[in-house]
């Protein structure tokens, strides 16, 4: 019982140098991939920042594993692994939400674009006069002051 308690309160992080090197290598490879995607115009700079921050975070975690213990302590979590997973999970959740927000904005932009095109075509048709059969003049300029 006492040994279990001692083990639980011990602030060491169980990362061997092997896993640390592996984590650092993955982080560097990840950031290289982001740079390559930007270079090939497959990723815009403004969306790359958040991924760079993630890569740097991974690198820092690999270089200073003690930091993780500090963070876990601050969170009041005994197991550093749980702290790590919680943080990553929350970050990913935030990121996914961020993408939904961006997607909604772009959907609205696409809709407006489609509307503008449709309106322009309709105006052309109205101006050509093959629309309404009335002899009344059609479609005054957009900024018409005829509205009362």
């Amino acid at each position: 019982m006492s040994t279990l308690l001692a083990a639980a309160t011990e602030p060491t992080v169980h990362l061997t140098s092997q896993t640390r090197i592996l984590a650092a290598a993955i982080a560097i490879a990840f950031m290289a991939m982001i740079l390559e995607l930007i270079r090939r115009n497959q990723l815009q700079e403004r969306y790359s920042v958040v991924w760079f921050v993630a890569g740097v975070g991974m690198l820092v975690g690999a270089a200073f594993p003690g930091l993780l213990g500090v963070v876990a302590d601050a969170m009041g979590v005994r197991d550093t692994n749980v702290a790590l997973f919680s943080i990553v999970l929350l970050l990913l959740l935030g990121l996914a939400l961020n993408f939904s927000v961006i997607m909604s904005r772009q959907a609205a932009q696409i809709t407006r674009l489609a509307q503008e095109r449709a309106l322009e075509k309709a105006r052309e048709q109205a101006a050509a006069g093959n629309g309404a059969a009335e002899s009344r003049p059609q479609a005054p300029p957009p900024s018409s002051s005829s509205s009362r």
């Binding site: 489609a114 509307q115 957009p142």
Partner: protein, 241 residues
């Protein structure tokens, strides 16, 4: 005084020409615009043949976006009034003329054609709603009345008439997801005079209703979220008076 009657249509080639002909007969002086919401059939061709101006959205955007396109067209081309009705033939054009009379007489900024009639709102002579629709209608009626403190019987009616004030509001703020209900809530919140007028509606000429029970449930759920959020939305800038 110029009036635009617009008809949002999505794959309604069977009925759109009949509806246009009806509108031109009932409202001979007014311009007719069909907003083709990305149809894959020949809706746009049928509409042009029938003499309407056609605004074609390049892909299906949903009823809200289609209606907004109509309001934008009316606003930008200087129309004083506009009205819209469904392309499936459920809305008799002479009834649209009645709605337009209300806004022309300046008795309201927005007039909704209601398929239900007081005092027995669910039973009409011509119209028999399905069970799913009855449930949805009562739910929306209850919550919209709660939200707006104004009594509405037909919250999802697609037959409306508007003046420039309503036009300018709807051409900027129109939810693509939930056009009918949110627009009513918005209009009341922005201080527009919204009026409901009982109208006669018919059975569909072509196509089929999109309402299955599952879709209805999803529809209701989405509608409630929209209404809830709408209550806490900041007011937009003062609309054109």
């Amino acid at each position: 005084m110029r009036t635009l009657v617009f008809i949002p249509a999505w794959n309604e080639e069977a009925s759109v020409a009949t509806v246009i002909a009806g509108v031109r007969e009932a409202l001979p002086g007014d311009d007719v615009l069909v907003v083709d919401d990305g149809s894959v059939d020949s809706t746009a061709e049928r509409a042009r043949e029938a003499g309407a101006i056609v605004a074609v959205l390049p892909f299906n955007q949903g009823l809200g976006a289609a209606l907004q396109t109509g309001y934008l067209y009316a606003l930008r081309n200087g129309y004083d009034f506009c009205a819209h009705l469904d392309a499936d033939g459920q809305h008799p054009p002479p009834e649209v003329a009645r709605l337009l009379e209300e806004v022309r007489a300046d008795r309201a900024d927005l007039v909704i054609g209601s398929r239900y009639r007081e005092p027995e709102p669910d039973a009409t002579d011509d119209y028999r709603p399905t069970f799913s629709r009855r449930v949805g209608t009562s739910v929306f009626r209850f919550f919209l009345t709660l939200a707006t403190r104004q009594r509405f019987t037909d919250t999802t009616s697609g037959m409306r008439a508007a003046n420039r004030r309503a036009m300018s509001l709807f051409s900027e703020n129109y939810s693509p997801d939930f056009a009918e209900i949110e627009s009513l809530q918005l209009a009341v919140r922005e201080g527009l005079r919204v009026e409901e007028l009982p109208v006669r509606m018919l059975e569909r000429v072509g196509g089929s209703s999109f309402l299955t029970p599952l879709r209805s449930a999803f529809f209701i759920f989405k509608g409630l979220i929209v209404l809830l959020v709408g209550q806490f939305r900041p007011r937009s800038v003062e609309v054109e008076r």
